[in-house]
């Protein structure tokens, strides 16, 4: 039981890490672009 739970936790942890990092990376990339646009507008 512990073995199965352990494997499940590892898989879920990896998936969670991958998904959240990809989503957040995209959000940061979008933010950087928006920031640049805001700076250009201010200039």
């Amino acid at each position: 039981m512990l073995l199965v739970l352990g494997i499940a936790l590892i898989i879920v942890g990896i998936i969670l890490l991958a998904v959240t990092q990809i989503v957040l990376w995209r959000k940061i990339k979008k933010f950087n672009k928006e920031w640049e646009d805001e700076q250009n507008e201010m200039s």
């Binding site: 352990g6 936790l9 942890g13 959240t20 940061i28 700076q39 201010m42």
Partner: protein, 627 residues
């Protein structure tokens, strides 16, 4: 006083007076040799020590930075001192403020970056140079759009601290120092450092961004965040931090402020939120993965432990049933398999080794029995050590390694001084040496010391074995029954069966009850453990001696199915068939002969010479040829 056209030291031609301030008059001049415009600043304090002045200017002359005017020299003319500095063409920020100019954030950030760079350059100099008078009027915007920080002054005394003081842009500690001087308590002054300039820079930017002068004496001055400004929140935060009243809360250095400017977008709340989420998700995922790995490891450990427990139970059942072949195979696997060894306690390992020793002992393979018992003793805990040591010694005795056995006795006497085990081992030694009476005495001494328990059990068995050797079956039965009362196991049941069979074969009045008891013993062995070939043959012998030949034959027929390659079974079948005058006797004799040829020495050794001769005679009678 200098006038336009004056030539100073044959080097500088005065163009015009361009200003005057706390530090003195400022002239625009033309350097006749360098052919460029310079600024000559008259130093107001006539009482300065010229050597100190020159030393300080020498320090400033060594400063080279794109955002600083170059200091060229200090000259003395008509009892006045003048510093000669690069002329910076451009407009100062005060000019733009007074003109109502609204600066964009990108402009302000660009200048802020440059100002932080030059302040860091000054503060990191050896010795550090603190400007102490940063304000819009001292920041020139050149034609190329870059700034130049001017008027970083010469401060040689506390009086000069007052001179370099611009109330609206000075830091709180600089303000307090000036107040102390003016109040005549300069001893309360604190040492200024780069954070003073950082405050002044922040105050300058406050003015640039809001249009309001940040008067330090104005307690109602709103924070920068209180204005509705067309600037981003991170940028406002940087300036606010630079203007922290508490020096400890300000940027510790211009370099740190520069770093904040370079990473300004990282101050944005949205960015901070994303980073926080990244960190949180990494931490949560990390915890999950680590937990998963730990669970996996422990799960494996747990499974291995469960498997070991199952296999161990199976191993013990093989040992209890007397199936030494299966027991040894499984025991070896348990001891050599790393999966089990990792979860096996020392106690369990010792138990397995002891069982293995028992298997080898039952097979009379005393060399291997010794090795296993020895290892068992070395891994035993206090509860089992005595028993394992005893069995180790007895195996040594049975293997005729008497000197080693004596050494073990010495160990036993030392570790278990009041135990009966020493007497038991001595009894075994004497028995092996053929001194049966002495052996019997030692066994009795052992029994006097211990009435129940493993040692007493072994002593009763030994006494029974001694009686069997002397064909004293009645005494043997009595001893074996005493052992049985302590522990009824396969070993004692077999010995009892043989003893009762021996009694029954004597042909006395009690023979039927003895044979009946022998049959009961073998029946118990069959039901609870398993019948070996020898057990089965003895069992059939009990039947035949009690006159039940068909019962004996049926038993042997069943035995032949279990042990089809054991010649002893067919020998017994031949004997029974002969007693029944069964024509199949010849077939059994032929089968017995064929199997006898193939049998191992250990099997052949168990066949009594009388029995062998009997079979040979039957063979000759029924088959008409020699065995």
């Amino acid at each position: 006083m200098l006038f336009s056209g004056d030539i100073v030291n044959d080097t500088y031609s005065i163009v015009e007076e361009i200003g005057s301030g706390g530090m003195g008059v400022v002239y625009l001049a033309y350097h006749l040799r360098l052919e460029k415009y310079v600024v000559m600043k008259k130093i107001k304090n006539r009482n300065l020590d010229s050597s100190l002045l020159r030393n300080e200017v020498d320090i400033l002359k060594k400063l080279h930075h794109p955002y600083l005017p170059q200091v060229y020299d200090i000259i003395e003319y008509e009892c006045d001192f003048y510093t000669v500095i690069d002329y910076i063409d451009g407009k100062d920020l005060e000019h733009f403020i007074n003109g109502g100019y609204v600066f964009t954030e990108s402009q302000l950030i660009k200048w802020l970056r440059q100002l932080c760079e030059v302040l860091d350059y000054l503060h990191c100099n050896n010795p550090p140079i603190i400007h102490t008078d940063i304000k819009p009027a001292n920041i020139i915007v050149r034609d190329n759009g870059d700034i130049c920080l001017i008027d970083f002054g010469i401060s040689l005394s506390a009086d000069d601290a007052v001179k370099g003081y611009s109330k609206n842009y000075s830091s709180p500690e600089q303000y307090m120092n000036v107040m102390n001087i003016l109040n005549g308590t300069p001893e309360f002054n604190v040492q200024l450092d780069g954070r003073t300039d950082i405050y002044s820079l922040g105050a300058t930017y406050y003015h640039l961004m809001t249009g309001c002068i940040p008067d330090i004496e104005d307690e109602t001055l709103p924070l920068l965040e209180g204005y509705e400004l067309p600037y981003s929140q991170p940028f406002v935060s940087i300036i606010s931090k630079a203007m922290e009243w508490d020096i400890k809360k300000r940027y510790k250095s211009a370099a740190k402020m520069l770093s904040a400017v370079d990473n300004i977008k990282k101050q944005d709340e949205r960015y901070k939120r994303y980073i926080l989420l990244q960190v949180l998700s990494s931490v949560v995922s990390g915890i999950m993965i680590v937990s998963g790995v730990l669970m996996f490891v422990f799960g494996n450990y747990e499974i291995a432990g469960t498997e070991l427990a199952t296999q161990y139970d199976l191993f013990v059942s093989y040992c209890d049933k007397g199936d030494t072949v299966s027991a040894k195979q499984l025991g070896t696997d348990l001891l050599n398999n790393s999966k089990y060894r990792n979860v096996m306690t020392d106690k369990t390992m010792a138990e397995i080794l002891h069982y293995m020793g028992d298997c080898y002992f039952d097979e009379e393979d005393y060399a291997n029995a010794v090795e296993n018992y020895k290892s068992a003793y070395e891994n035993a805990d206090d509860d089992d050590a005595e028993v394992y040591l005893r069995d180790y010694a007895i195996a040594l005795v049975r293997g005729k390694r008497f000197s080693e056995a004596q050494s073990v006795i010495s160990t036993a006497e030392e570790k278990f001084p009041n135990s009966s085990v020493n007497k038991l081992i001595q009894a075994e030694i004497e028995y092996e040496n053929g001194n049966v009476d002495t052996a019997m005495n030692y066994a009795n001494e052992c029994l006097n010391a211990e009435q129940n328990g493993d040692n007493a059990f072994a002593a009763w068995l030994l006494k029974g074995d001694i009686c069997m050797d002397k064909n004293q079956y009645t005494d043997a039965v009595s001893n074996y029954e005493s052992a049985r009362s302590i522990d009824e196991n396969l070993s004692v049941l077999r010995k009892l069966g043989q003893a009762y069979l021996g009694m029954g074969s004597l042909g006395s009045d009690v023979e039927n009850s003895s044979l009946q008891k022998a049959k009961e013993c073998y029946s118990t062995i069959r039901d609870r453990y398993y019948l070996s070939a020898e057990d089965g043959i003895n069992y059939s012998q009990a039947y035949s001696l009690s006159g039940d030949l068909s019962g004996a034959k049926n038993l042997l027929d069943e035995l032949a199915k279990t042990y089809p390659d054991d010649c002893r079974v067919y020998m017994q079948l031949a004997v029974i068939s002969n007693m029944q005058n069964d024509s199949q006797c010849g077939m059994y004799c032929e089968k017995a002969r064929a199997l006898y040829k193939e049998s191992s020495d250990s099997v052949k050794q168990t066949i009594d010479s009388n029995r062998l001769n009997e079979i040979k005679n039957l063979y000759r009678r029924y088959l008409g040829s020699v065995w």
